[in-house]
Symmetry: C2
Subunit: 174 residues, 2 copies
């Protein structure tokens, strides 16, 4: 988001006022339990997500079956339980809750040039496709221009481009 | 939008680059024929929409059956045929295409304190509910807090709040 010059929507006062209700309604719609972390603007944004991103990259490279469980756990900490994710201590808590052993090994990897470079390269790749926020979807098809979509609210359109109907939220547990 | 301090998304470079494709995909999804006016940032935004808004207010007060046809015609001019809407000449073209007679009468009304005041009052009312963009939906229910929604992409959520399933785009002609 930073590379694109975009600003988090919560930094605009009218949007900041709107967001908690929007999130409540979306949460009901999708069957989640998300709510706005009261420290989102003062803690989550300034602390960033570089450490968990490097941690996820280390998992993806070395223990890929933990990638999605860990990503969901980070998501839940931010959006459901309002816990921080930017310190090594938090990575250890996430590891514990998903049954990942030898967490110290993956924490060490977050400091390696290799993992940092892979993440940098992927960030550059995303920015080059035009990404300025998340989630960012790219439909790639041989001989065609990439089709890019921003936001979970574009899911009906993404599916439409894939020839599939969007029939609404599953309302099942993630 | 101005009153809220929000900025049109097209003024951010990465979003400006994203929007034409997003609009093309949304257009396909909804079965419209919309595309980004190449002069949107240089002509549509600086010229604003105050005159057509006053014109629509005059119609709503004095010839309500023309309100929706006129609003759709303004929409089509901006999003489909890429014609301007900010001058009296344009109001006359709109009137002609929807079969509205005595257009001069309604143009005169756009200059009256009464019509200007009604529009101002409604703008204030919208801003007071938290509006910072359009479309802006408000669900009002006796004894409950208003529920407000921004953007056509919130339609599934608005319907969910009304107890109705969103089953996708009708793909019929407007």
């Amino acid at each position: 988001m930073k590379s694109s010059g975009n600003r988090p929507p919560i930094l605009l006062p009218a949007k900041a006022q709107y967001m908690p209700n929007d999130l409540r309604m979306l949460s009901k719609y999708w069957g989640f339990n998300l709510s706005l972390n009261p420290n989102f603007a003062t803690e989550i944004i300034p602390n960033g997500t570089i450490l968990p991103q490097r941690f996820l990259t280390a998992l993806e490279q070395n223990a890929p079956k933990y990638l999605i469980p860990a990503a969901r756990e980070f998501w839940k900490r931010i959006w459901e339980t309002h816990q921080s994710i930017h310190e090594e201590e938090h990575l250890k808590e996430v590891a514990k809750s998903i049954g990942l052993e030898n967490v110290e090994k993956y924490i060490e990897m977050t400091k390696s040039a290799k993992i940092r470079d892979i993440l940098k390269q992927r960030t550059t790749e995303a920015v080059e496709t035009g990404a300025f926020g998340a989630p960012w979807f790219v439909i790639r098809k041989e001989g065609e221009q990439n089709r890019c979509f921003w936001g979970s609210d574009r899911l009906p359109v993404v599916l439409n481009e894939c020839g599939v109907d969007f029939v609404g939220a599953m309302k099942s547990k993630m």
